[in-house]
Point group: C2
Chain length 414, copies 2
């Protein structure tokens, strides 16, 4: 059993409360699947017209819930979501699929919906049997205690945590047509957070009316700018799941497609929510003491810049140097060099906190290291990397690699 | 300055001494480039007919010595090698190239050879000026004290170390035609050891007569089976250099090409030397407490198996679980899943030390964990992974990720 961990020093201070979303009612319970004395099961009921979009792990060994969600997404509609923490329901063969079916069947009966309107996610240990009977036993009470308020949303964010040290949520309100719509997301992260689906679990709810195909495009774009621009340890989970539910309760005029000008504000707000959640996940990276923003410019194109940024973000040598407040820019050169992208070495520049330590492929002469060191001793680190004269730019986020990461991960399962 | 580190617990016990190689004379000195009180400069003189082959880092930001070696390799001949530890001579612009030229010029004068017969390698901190004048000042004395014995070879291995905790060498003797030839290699490794050139520096010497083109093919193959099958932290250096020198002093009949049947024994011995060196590098991985062999079977082909193996070997979650002697095979599932290769999930099997914990895509029922745990508490870990029914197989080596890695790398430069 994981020991209780102190709250990350990078956690948001006094965050704004999560806003309830019309058409979203939820409840959580402590079922003792793995953890004791804390909620570990979340049930969400969604209004009748809810559409859904999803981005799922690209793992070749996906969990049983992921396989289910991939199929259920085809319908584009949703009425219920079940999430448990403590057991990921991965690598259990037919038994794992059967467990998902039992969850789905229970939700169908409680909500009165089709099977593919039920979404399921599980996070936690891989390879152990999901005690689905505990979930089945708890669901009726949860369905009877659903609530549409801030407290329920906070509890939802708490119920999906594993080694997270704080609950993560983010809300925005924005105008869509002549209506004000709300977007609220919750997420859980920590280890196994990587590009190509950067958080284990994130669920975003809105009361906007948006057809599923447009919703999917919006989610792909937002995911690309947020979760896929972050990394904690370069590992991708079997269970990474990002779902966006739109309940249509705001009764705005539905947009034609994702590029409908009416959606511009909504898309921006969705970006803000997903970036906020992704950054919170990094801020709660296992053992993290420093939040690192890496800004790459001058690459051949944006994807090349992103790949360079993520290679730097994933480098254990860079991450430990930052942990030690060491302006060891050579390690950044090393990481840039191994990214597999063409760079202009004689234009390479590296800066910390706005202070350039290398320019034009060489160390800045007679550098005053004092402001660089002062910056690196802080908790919010900015690294600028220029790799040439190209137009490609990207921003990625990561955290440092510390003793805390080892402590947590050498002893998580047992 | 790095603090002195205790010798890795995985270091070879009582290794056989390095065998001198005919036509190879060397000497080392302490020049204080960075370290105090230990040799940090190696000079090697090679016999007149020496051929050379090399494998250099694929980094897009290679060090100045790497750029030089890439050009010098074109001639296929070699007479001298200069290696320094403590400063990598990377990212110094024209000054860095100029420093290499000064080293080459000094060696040319001492040995009486062409510029492209001189090979140069540097390892250590990136971005700081190489004090080439210290090298120039030391070389004449080194050239006057060259020796062809075991002690000189040991000292050579010691002179190229950075954060290594023990000197690495390996020797074999084998018949080539009607002659006995010797192969002796030295290497240095530790952090920044990764696939696609797995050690920072390795130099292999033989007295065999082998034309440069054949030598290059032999080295490519050996490198593929050894250094490119290992990883310590997934980071690739700017300076990775593997050179193979053949002095021709054994006066064997030169083989026609790399596939000449006469070379079979030599090729096997070269594999043994490079695998031994690569494994020693892993055994000296920064903070390593456990040596891990990962055997992948059932992949689509050998390269796919290798990519899966290296993805597992590079996973910080897997490496920390092994550090904690935790049979957390779910993390291996996770790493296999993210490797980007097609697998047959319902045939997935995972074993530790010959004990299968998962078979056919699911946990082994009623597993007796005791022998698994006993194996994982040892220092030599074997992981078997079956990913399907294909013919692809690979073996890769890595070490665990421990607090020692953080200690060393959060404080290396300063």
């Amino acid at each position: 059993m994981a020991k209780p961990l102190p709250v990350s020093p990078l956690a948001p201070v006094d965050p704004k409360p999560p806003l309830p979303v019309s058409g979203v009612r939820c409840a959580a319970a402590a079922t003792g699947i793995r953890y004791q004395g804390r909620p570990d099961l979340l049930f969400v009921e969604l209004a009748a017209e809810t559409t859904v979009a999803g981005v799922l792990t690209r793992s070749a060994a996906p969990g049983h819930p992921v396989t289910w969600c991939r199929r259920a997404l085809a319908s584009g509609t949703a009425r219920a979501l079940i999430v448990n923490a403590g057991n990921a329901n991965v690598c259990r063969g037919e038994e794992g699929d059967e467990a998902v079916k039992r969850e789905v069947t229970a939700a169908m009966r409680l909500v009165g919906c089709a099977a593919d309107d039920v979404f399921v996610a599980s996070t936690g240990v891989i390879g152990e049997r999901l005690p689905v009977e505990k979930i089945e036993a708890a669901l009726p009470d949860l369905a009877a205690s659903l609530a549409h308020d801030e407290a329920a949303m906070r509890e939802a964010a708490r119920a999906i945590m594993t080694t997270d040290t704080f609950a993560k949520w983010s809300s925005r309100q924005v105008t869509l047509g002549d209506r004000t719509v709300t977007i609220t997301g919750i997420a859980k992260g920590s280890g196994m957070v990587a590009p190509d689906m950067a958080t284990m679990l994130a669920f975003v709810f809105t009361d906007a009316a948006i057809p599923a195909p447009a919703l999917q495009v919006l989610l792909n774009r937002a995911s690309d700018r947020s979760f896929n621009a972050t990394t904690v340890d370069g590992d991708t989970s079997t269970s990474d799941t990002l779902l966006l539910f739109a309940t249509a309760e705001a009764a705005n005029a539905p947009p034609e497609n994702a590029d409908d000008p009416a959606l511009a504000g909504f898309a921006r707000a969705l970006d803000e929510v997903t970036i906020d959640l992704a950054q919170q996940v990094v801020r709660d990276g296992e053992g993290a003491r420093k939040f690192i923003e890496i800004r790459v410019a001058g690459a051949a194109d944006d994807p090349a810049a992103r790949r360079i940024g993520l290679t730097v973000a994933n480098s254990p040598l860079v991450k430990t140097a930052i942990a030690g407040a060491d302006a060891n820019w050579g390690r950044i050169v090393m990481a840039v060099g191994k990214a597999g992208e063409v760079i202009e070495l004689d234009r390479l520049g590296i800066g910390f906190g706005g202070h350039w330590v290398a320019r034009n492929g060489a160390a800045v002469p007679d550098l005053d290291e004092a402001p660089v060191t002062a910056h690196l001793e802080g908790a919010e680190i900015a690294i600028d990397i220029t790799v040439g004269g190209g137009p490609g730019r990207a921003v990625v986020w990561t955290c440092d690699l510390t003793h805390g990461y080892i402590d947590i991960n050498a002893d998580y399962r047992s």
